[in-house]
Symmetry: D2
Subunit: 293 residues, 4 copies
Amino acid sequence: MTTIAFIGLGIMGSPMAVHLQDAGHDVIGYNLHPDKTQPLVDAGGTAAASVADAVRDAQVVAVMVPDSPDVQDVLLGEDGVFANAKEGTLVIDFSSIRPDVTVELAKAAQAKGFRLLDAPVSGGEAGARNAALSIMVGGSAEDFAEAKPLFDAVGKTIVHVGGNGAGQTVKAANQLIVAANIQALAEAVVFLEAYGADLGPALDVLGGGLAGSKVLDQKRDNMAKKSFEPGFRIDLHHKDLGIVTSAAREAGVVVPLGGLVAQLMASARANGDGGLDHSALLRGVQRLSGQTP
Amino acid sequence: MTTIAFIGLGIMGSPMAVHLQDAGHDVIGYNLHPDKTQPLVDAGGTAAASVADAVRDAQVVAVMVPDSPDVQDVLLGEDGVFANAKEGTLVIDFSSIRPDVTVELAKAAQAKGFRLLDAPVSGGEAGARNAALSIMVGGSAEDFAEAKPLFDAVGKTIVHVGGNGAGQTVKAANQLIVAANIQALAEAVVFLEAYGADLGPALDVLGGGLAGSKVLDQKRDNMAKKSFEPGFRIDLHHKDLGIVTSAAREAGVVVPLGGLVAQLMASARANGDGGLDHSALLRGVQRLSGQTP
Amino acid sequence: MTTIAFIGLGIMGSPMAVHLQDAGHDVIGYNLHPDKTQPLVDAGGTAAASVADAVRDAQVVAVMVPDSPDVQDVLLGEDGVFANAKEGTLVIDFSSIRPDVTVELAKAAQAKGFRLLDAPVSGGEAGARNAALSIMVGGSAEDFAEAKPLFDAVGKTIVHVGGNGAGQTVKAANQLIVAANIQALAEAVVFLEAYGADLGPALDVLGGGLAGSKVLDQKRDNMAKKSFEPGFRIDLHHKDLGIVTSAAREAGVVVPLGGLVAQLMASARANGDGGLDHSALLRGVQRLSGQTP
Amino acid sequence: MTTIAFIGLGIMGSPMAVHLQDAGHDVIGYNLHPDKTQPLVDAGGTAAASVADAVRDAQVVAVMVPDSPDVQDVLLGEDGVFANAKEGTLVIDFSSIRPDVTVELAKAAQAKGFRLLDAPVSGGEAGARNAALSIMVGGSAEDFAEAKPLFDAVGKTIVHVGGNGAGQTVKAANQLIVAANIQALAEAVVFLEAYGADLGPALDVLGGGLAGSKVLDQKRDNMAKKSFEPGFRIDLHHKDLGIVTSAAREAGVVVPLGGLVAQLMASARANGDGGLDHSALLRGVQRLSGQTP
C-alpha cells in the first residue's frame, strides 16, 4: 500500500485516482474545483484542500493536468509539490506536455531531491475508465520499476521508453501518427463516397489489408454516420499537434505531413469543430471538396 | 471446374494462376515472356502462345497486367479478349488501373456481350503466394457471386464494394491510406530517434494504442533497421498515387495529404529508391532532416 | 504581308487575329461557332468554313484552342492542318497544353514536312485586346525569327526560350509561380486582417519590399474588396495546374508547393468559385479559417 | 536634433545608427560586443558602456536586437530602458519579434509612462547600408508622426500600418510571402532546367508577366548560378517563419502554404544551409528531386 497524492481529478484523472484507491492504495486527491473529488471520496479516498495538503505525507505524487504551465505551477509553485512534499518523493506526471519542459522539470526535481517520471497516456476517457490506458514512461529504470504496480492499476500497455522526456516524445509521436491516419482515412472516405463505392464493404476490405488500423476500426462508424461525439476532442489534438510541430522544429526534424495535418486540425477548430471528436477532420475534407458537412 | 484463361503471369499473376489450377480448375496461361508460364505448367496448367489462343475456349478470363494501357491492349486489341473469346465470357481484371478507364472498359465489354469485374488486389507478393490477398470487387452482384469461388482460391478478404469502377476506387483509397500511414510513421520514427527515445519499446506502446496499424506492425522492423527489401516497391506505389490524385481531381475531391504524400513518394523515386519497399519513405524524412540515409 | 490561317477565335484568339489583320496581314479565320468570326471579318479578314479551307493557302497557321486534345484534332484530324496545308507551312500553336504533347506534335509535324512553334501566352484577355501578351516560344531559332513580326503584332514580351516544348514548359512554370504567389498573398491578407493591421498601408509597404510582385500589385484590390471579377478564371488555372503537376511528375521534379496549391485551386473550384478570378483563392483561406467568404 | 540611444549595433543596427548620426542627431550607441560601436564613433556618435548609460539622457531609444527575449531584456531588465530612461521617452523597436510579445511590451511601456512603436524593417543589410529599408510601424499616429523624421533617415518606404503589434504582423506577413515566392520560383527553376528550357530567356519572360516579382528580379541570378551568398540568411528566415506559424495559429488563421514552406525552410537549415541566402531553398528542391545541389 502506497500513499498517493493525485493532483488533477478531471475526466481522465478522476477514474485513474479511483482505480488506484480500488487497488488498495491510500489516495489523497486535489482538484481546483473541489466537487470533482467526490468519486474518489466515494471510493474511500480523501479530498485535500490544497496541493500542499495533498502531497505533504505522500510517497508518490501523481499529476494529471491540462498543459505545460499547469504542471509547472503544480510542481514549482509556493503551494506546490517541491515546496511541500517530502524529499525523495516520486512524482509521476501523467499530463501531456512539451518534452523540453519535462526535461527542465526533471532537472529541477533532481536539484531539489525529488524523482520524476513523465508518463503521458493515450486511450482517452474510455481507457481511463476501464484502466486500459497506454502509458509511455520516461525516466530512470529504477523509478519505473517502483511505479510499475501503480501503472498496472490504471493502464494496460505500459512501456518504459527512455530517459526523462522520452515519454512525452512518444506521446507526441502518437498524436502525429493518429492525426495523419485520421486525415488519410477521411480523405479516403470522401473519395469513396464521391465514386459511389459501398462504404461499409469498402472499409471492411480496407481494414483487412495493409490499410487496416486502430483508427479505421474505431473511427469508421463516426465517419460513415457523420456523427462526431467525442471521444478525443479536436481542441486537445490541436494542442498536441502544437507540441509535435514545435518539438520537431526544435530537434531539426522535418515533418511535412505533421505540419500539414496541424494546419488542417487548426482549420477544424477555426470552423467551430473544436468540441467534436478528432474524426471530425472528415468535415474539413468535405468543406474543401465543396460539400456541406 | 472452370476453364480459365489467365493473362499476365508476373510476380503476382503466376502464383494466382497456380492457386486456381490447384483448386481444380483448368488454367490456360499467357505471358509476354513465355518462360514465366513454367510454374503454371508444372502445376498441371497449359501455356498458350497468344491471348487469342488462351481465351478462345475459356469460361472466365483473368487479367493481371501492370497498367491501364496494358489492360486496354489485352481487352480491346486484335489479338485480344473481346475479339477472340466466346460471347458472354466473364472477364475478371485483377490489375490496378484508373477507375475511369475501368468504367469505359466495362461499357465496351457490355456492348460486345461480355461481362467485366474490376478486382484489384492488395497484399503484395506474399499475399499472392499465400492465397491471402484482399480483393476489392466492382461489378454486378450476379457476376460477383459467380466469380466468388475463384476469388476464394487466391484471396482471403474478398468484398463486393459496388458497381464497375468501385473496386479500383477502393484500391486507390487503400494506396492513399497506406502511403499516408507509412509517411506518418516515418516522420514519427525520425522524431523519436532525434529525441533519444528507445525505438523498440516506443513502437510497442504506439502499436498498442490508437496509433496502431498494419503499417506499424509490418513496417516497423524495416524502419528500425533501415533495411528496405521489397515488399511493395516505391515505383509501384508512385504509379498508384498518380491514379489517386488524378481520380480525386476528376471527382472534385480535395486530398491535401494525398497530394503531399504523392510528392514525397515521387521524391523517393527521384532519389533512386524506386526499387525499395515503400517503407523507404523513411529515407526521405531523413534527407529532409539533414541525415544521410 | 503574310497569309495567315487563324484557328480558334475565342476570347483570346479573336483579338489576336484582328491585330494580325490590322498589322497588314491577310488573315483567314476559322472557329467552331462561326459567329465568332465577325470581328475578324469587320477588320477586313476572311471567315473560312472549315480548318481545311482556312489552311489550304496559308503561309502560316496560328492555333489558339482550349486543351491538348483540341490541338491534336486541329493538327492531326482528317480536316486538319497536316492533311490540308501546304508542305513547309509554319504552324504557331498559341494554346496552353502539356509539354509532352507538344513535343510529340512537333515530331509529327516534322515527319510530315511541317514546322511547329509552341507559343503559349500569358496576360489574359486584356493582354490579348491590347496586343500586350507575353509569349514564350519553343522551337528552332530560324522559325522563331520568321514568326517574330507576327508575335510583335500581338505581344509585348516575346522570348525564345528553347526547343519545342520549352514554350509550354515556361508557361507551366508561370502558372505555378502565379498560383503560389496568389495563395501566399491570400494567406497574408487573412492573417493581417485577423490582427487588425490596416490593410491598405500594410500592402503598400509589402509591395515596396522583397514581397512586392505583379500579383500583389494587380490582385490586392480584389482581395481587399473581396470582389473577384475575372480576370483569369479559377477553372482555367485549375486546368493549368494539372499540366504543371503531371509534367513535373513526368520529369521527376518534386514540387511540394505546386502540389499543395493545385489542391487548393481544386478546392476553390469544388466550392463553386471556378468562374471567379484566381485571386479568389483568398476565399479558400477564409473558409479554412472559419470565416464566411 | 534629437538625442537618440541606439541599442544593438549589429549588421543592421550599425549602419542605421550611423545614418541617424549623419542626419544631424546625437546618437549614443550600445552593443554587447563594444568593438561594434566603432563605425558610430567614427561618424561622430558616442559609445555607452551599458544600456542604462545609453538611455539615461535620450529623448528616443532605438532597439535592434535578434529576438523576443532580447527585446524583453533590453526593455524590462534592471539595466534596461524602463528602469533607466526618462519618463515619456519614445521607444522604437526595430527588431523582428512575435506580435503578441510586442503587444505586451507596449502595455508594460504605457504602465510605466513610456511610449512604444514596433517598427520592424525589411530590405536586409543592403537596405540598412543604403538607408533604403522598408519600415512597417505599429503604434499611435502621434508617436509615428514624431518618429517619422528618424525613420526617413534610415528607410525609404515607411508606413504606419496600425496600432501596436501591427508592425510585427506586417513583417510576419512579409516573411510568409517572401518565403513562398522564393520556394515557388525555386520549384519553377528546377522544373525549367529539367525540361531543357533556356533559363535566362525563360526568367525574362516570366518576369515580364504576372509571375514577375521582386524575388524573381533579385534572386534569379543566385538560382541560375547556384551561388547563395547572403543576403538574408536561411537561419533568420527560419526564425521568422516560426513567428508566422505560431502567430497564425494563435489567431486561428490557417496558412497551408506558410506551414509547408516553414517545413522546407527548416529542412534547408537541417541540411546545413542555414548560413546561405534564403534563395538556397532551391537546393532543397534539388535534393527532393534527386539532384546533388
